[in-house]
Symmetry: C2
Subunit: 277 residues, 2 copies
């Protein structure tokens, strides 16, 4: 259809709604031409709140003149019944998959909401918080030598190549202690890895970036500077890649990659899969 | 079963595997007694890689003496066929839900992998990166007055009440510019909000924490200090809650909440739902 109606998608959950939104987002990105507006409805923990959700679904249907899509991770049958009085396409994670898993595992599902993104859900919650604190304390070369001993990975690369957001993502999503350390013009002149990271070669992972993109990013920070100029960006990225190649440091180009894609690549490249839960 | 076998769960994707893992993790937390070991297999983009995955599934089945569970977000039928030669319980997000969505939207799914967590997927990728940089630059009271003008939310609370990881999560997950600002003993003595945040009252959100828990967290940082002592933690949290109540700042207790739960609560409490995609 050339001019599809704008539709509302609800992400409904007994807890944070993160799983419902991830599920819905992944599915809807398969329909790039669909005009969909997302609404989160987390913490739906009783019938009254479910009835309120049903009212919102009906209101959206009336406004959009097309029925909404509901991505749900609700687990309590009574709450689900109270919701389903509203007409919508229900895409229900547990409804579809809990049955096959119960048969396979020969166990009953708990039907308790909020286990996945709560504190109690995973023994690794504390590890994630510690990793976030670690990444903050070891950002951009700030750290003692001892601090880097504790790193699972040390990201290296020129200024603004994507090290900081990637370090934080690795920490937050996977509980990985990711330090990051800049490669600066002085390192290229000396033609040596910075002394603080040289003893940790096995943990180094490099990020590089196209000089044109780097110049744009740096220009926002320091307009008109030598630092942001294309020739300088070209010089720094070329020198950094040469150094990484010579030192045998694995690296990837972050230019067209999201922090999620960079992180998943790093997890594969250096053996961090022990951090699977 | 009292002594269930340890099983392997695979998270298989044509891209990062984040959706597959989120889906699998949410479903498996419904079976707290199941002994499951998770393995990520991202970037399965051709038949060869799918055949390698099938080998890994078979090897796990032999080792575990029970067939694995495969959580998949694969979208390419040829790759799916190459994988499915291995015996497993397949929990396949797209297989189940793309059909109903195609009917409802009257559109064909693109069947292109990696749209959800790539850079191109969302216009808000750049907003997320900017928000991460913003949170880093406005952590723990570091900011100019002008900087706080740009904040979507400013988290306040005593030292170690959970402000920093929550700010970073809000930025990374939702693209929200979250600054954070500590409430310190001097503020309680003056009995006034810090001057830098007073003009931004409408954006303030407070975190508090049980003094016993706070003392434990601070004790790890500065063992034996006055700062970490239980009487001092009790004094600070009581004074902070009194100040937040008096100033009409909404707040929640972070003691037993994950950063995901705190963030979802903040999103609801102050109107940040415009940040839905």
């Amino acid at each position: 259809m050339s001019n599809p109606a704008r539709r509302t998608a609800f992400f409904i959950s007994g807890s944070t709604g993160i799983t419902a939104e991830t599920l819905g987002h992944s599915l809807l990105t398969q329909f790039p031409d669909a005009k969909v507006h997302g609404v989160r409805l987390p913490f739906v923990t009783d019938r009254e709140r479910a009835q309120d959700c049903a009212r919102q679904i009906r209101a959206a249907a009336e406004r959009d003149r097309v029925r909404p899509i509901v991505f749900s991770t609700l687990v309590d049958p009574q709450i689900i019944d109270a919701l389903r009085v509203a007409d919508a396409l229900y895409i229900d994670l547990f409804d579809q998959f809990i049955g096959p898993l119960e048969s396979e595992l020969q166990m009953q599902a708990s039907h308790i909401a909020g286990l996945s993104h709560g504190m109690a859900s995973s023994g690794n919650y504390q590890a994630r918080i510690e990793a976030i604190n670690y990444a903050m304390a070891h950002d951009d070369g700030v750290s003692s030598d001892n601090g880097l001993d504790a790193a699972d990975v040390i990201l290296v690369g020129v200024s603004r190549s994507g090290k900081t957001p990637t370090s934080l993502y690795l920490a937050m999503q996977f509980g990985i202690k990711a330090a990051n350390y800049p490669l600066i013009p002085e390192d290229f002149e000396r033609n040596r890895l910075p002394g603080a990271i040289a003893p940790h070669r096995g943990k180094l992972f490099g990020l590089t970036i196209a000089p044109e993109r780097l110049a744009l990013i740096r220009e926002e920070r320091r307009p008109g500077s030598q630092y942001a100029s294309l020739p300088n960006c070209r010089h720094e990225t070329t020198a950094a890649q040469k150094m990484m190649r010579r030192e045998g440091i694995p690296w990837i180009d972050s230019t067209t990659k999201s922090i999620e894609e960079i992180s998943a690549t790093i997890m594969q490249a250096i053996d961090l899969e022990g951090h699977a839960w």
